[in-house]
């Protein structure tokens, strides 16, 4: 019935860190003034827990795909090989020709002929140790390291065919480039999921906070009558929702972490997945989820509370 008043509360002057500190300061004052809000409380804890659980997986996905892209990227930078099979007499000449061609190819940083012991190391898994490489017609291998955009494989093949007919360019790792793009995309999706999870948490907590405020309309008008500022009233609600979100998110993060731990490891055999878990210090990342949930809840509740209060008399 009354005309709406402008509110200064929304642009209250206190800095964010001071406001957040106030959330953790146990103050019977603003707290006791608002009665326990049972249903919305449990809803908030549940939402925060579920979202944190999902968040752990989104995070794991982002980190795992990140690792994958990095590892593939590293291999990509390292590996192409030229294999030369030629009659014993021509081997040295052809190998030399190949190295010469490679050294004059743009996009090739270095070309190096593998030594005998390197070759036997490569063959050992197949033929066992003490393989007399020198006595066998084993092709020689030239390791090619790319730089920049890499070389033009088709052009290089034609030149090699002309200079050293026994040579074959094996650039099999290059086909992984689209896979790396896919891994990068997947990581982006993981990060996007994290953002969406945070946004839905904010949305749900906003709704819960608004419901709690609406259910307390009488209480709010009484508090206003005796001179409570909007920020005082909001604080009681903000504190509750923030602590609940942190509590729920802690539970959800723990559960998510355990679930990730329980995933079957897919390291050597799987290769592709490289384990969807966290590795090493990456386990610290999920620890950020509860405080982040708290921050999201704090901002969402505070905005919702101050906006809703402005609608009250």
């Amino acid at each position: 019935m009354s005309a709406q008043r402008p509110s200064r509360g929304a642009r209250a002057s206190a800095p964010l860190h001071a406001l957040i500190a106030a959330v953790f300061r146990p103050s019977g004052r603003a707290d006791r003034v608002v009665p326990p809000t049972g249903f919305t409380a449990r809803l908030t804890v549940f939402t925060a827990a579920a979202m944190a659980f999902l968040g752990v997986f989104a995070l794991a996905l982002s980190l795992a795909t990140g690792r994958l892209a990095e590892r593939w990227g590293a291999e990509l930078a390292r590996t192409s090989t030229v294999r030369i099979s030629a009659p014993a007499g021509q081997m040295a000449a052809q190998t030399e020709a190949v190295v010469r061609v490679l050294q004059s190819t743009p996009g090739v940083r270095s070309a190096r002929v593998l030594e005998d012991d390197e070759l036997s190391a490569l063959l050992e898994p197949w033929f066992g140790p003490e393989l007399p490489v020198a006595d066998l017609p084993v092709p020689s291998l030239v390791e090619v390291i790319e730089q920049g955009e890499g070389f033009d494989a088709e052009g290089l093949r034609q030149r090699l065919a002309a200079e050293a007919p026994g040579s074959v360019l094996d650039d099999h790792t290059r086909w992984r480039r689209p896979l790396i793009d896919a891994a990068d995309r997947l990581r982006l999706l993981g990060l996007l999921s994290l953002a969406l999870i945070a946004a839905s948490t904010a949305a749900m907590i906003t709704l819960a906070a608004q419901a709690a405020l609406a259910a307390n309309a009488r209480l709010i008008s009484t508090l206003r009558l005796v001179g409570a500022r909007d920020t005082f009233i909001a604080r009681a609600f903000v504190r509750r929702f923030t602590l609940r979100a942190i509590g729920g998110a802690t539970i959800g993060t723990l559960a998510g972490g355990l679930a990730v731990l329980a995933l079957p490891s897919a390291d050597a055999a799987g290769g592709f997945l490289t384990g969807l878990g966290f590795q090493g210090w990456h386990w610290l990342w999920p620890l950020l989820i509860p405080p982040l949930a708290g921050l999201v809840a704090f901002l969402a509740t505070r905005t919702a509370a101050l906006r809703t209060l402005r609608g009250f008399k």
Binding site: R5, P6, G9, P35, R218, S221, L223, R224, R229
Partner: protein, 225 residues
């Protein structure tokens, strides 16, 4: 303290209160009478910025209510104690906590001369009921508690809407004595009431004036009431 200049108020439709001009000075004691539905409660709401006039100006403690934002209103309410017609308590807090609520919300630091809570409880005859929850109280007990809450901060202005409606004569006089004492300390007091005996009893103690709302207008009643 409270100034009206051609102020009017209407709930959407026709004007309920029209063209009211009036100044209630500091330390004055006013009664407000008028038939039920005349607009007494509405007038009082204009006096504590619960409502904004639909025309004209209302100035409270020197501030135009139209210029006040929500924090200004909160600050005003700490200097204006209000007994609402239906009291308004927080039902999950004890009576004692409810009466101390204005101190709570202002952070205790507003008025050094706020009244001692236990003394006040004794004065309004609620010392025994301090731990009770508001829903457990009688109508009269609620009104006494509401008055106690309105004065606890020792505000500059005390506005009470039928504070003695459900209270026996003896207790009414006790509450009146409290208000008279506060008035003698310089507080401005406005009380809406139907109780002519209360008005007469007050006039024996302090110089109180009577305002009457009739035909949408505010008039100063004669000395005969």
């Amino acid at each position: 303290m409270i100034e009206l200049e051609n102020a009017a108020y209407s709930y959407g439709g026709a004007e309920l209160l029209s063209d009211m001009s009036l100044q209630l000075g500091a330390g004055s004691f006013h009664f407000l009478t008028g038939p039920s539905g005349a607009g007494k409660t509405t007038f009082l709401k204009l006096c504590y910025a619960e409502l904004v006039p639909s025309a004209g100006t209302v100035r409270l403690l020197g501030q135009d209510v139209r210029q006040m934002d929500r924090d200004d209103v909160a600050r005003l309410r700490r200097r204006v104690g209000v007994v609402h017609q239906d009291c308004q308590f927080l039902d999950h807090l004890s009576l004692r906590e409810n009466i101390a609520l204005p101190l709570e919300v202002s952070g205790h630091d507003m008025n050094a001369d706020s009244i001692n809570l236990d003394e006040l409880l004794g004065w309004v005859g609620l010392a025994e009921r301090a731990r009770a929850l508001p829903p457990e109280l009688s109508g009269g007990e609620r009104q006494r508690a509401a008055l106690a809450r309105a004065v606890i901060m020792s505000p500059d202005v005390i506005i009470a809407d039928e504070p003695t409606g459900n209270i026996d004569w003896e207790m009414s006089l006790r509450l009146l004595t409290l208000l008279v004492e506060l008035n003698k300390m310089g507080k401005t007091i406005v009380i809406a009431t139907h109780d002519l005996n209360l008005i007469r009893a007050t006039k024996a103690e302090v110089s109180a004036r009577v305002l009457r709302i009739a035909n949408r207008r505010l008039q100063l009643a004669g000395s005969d009431l």
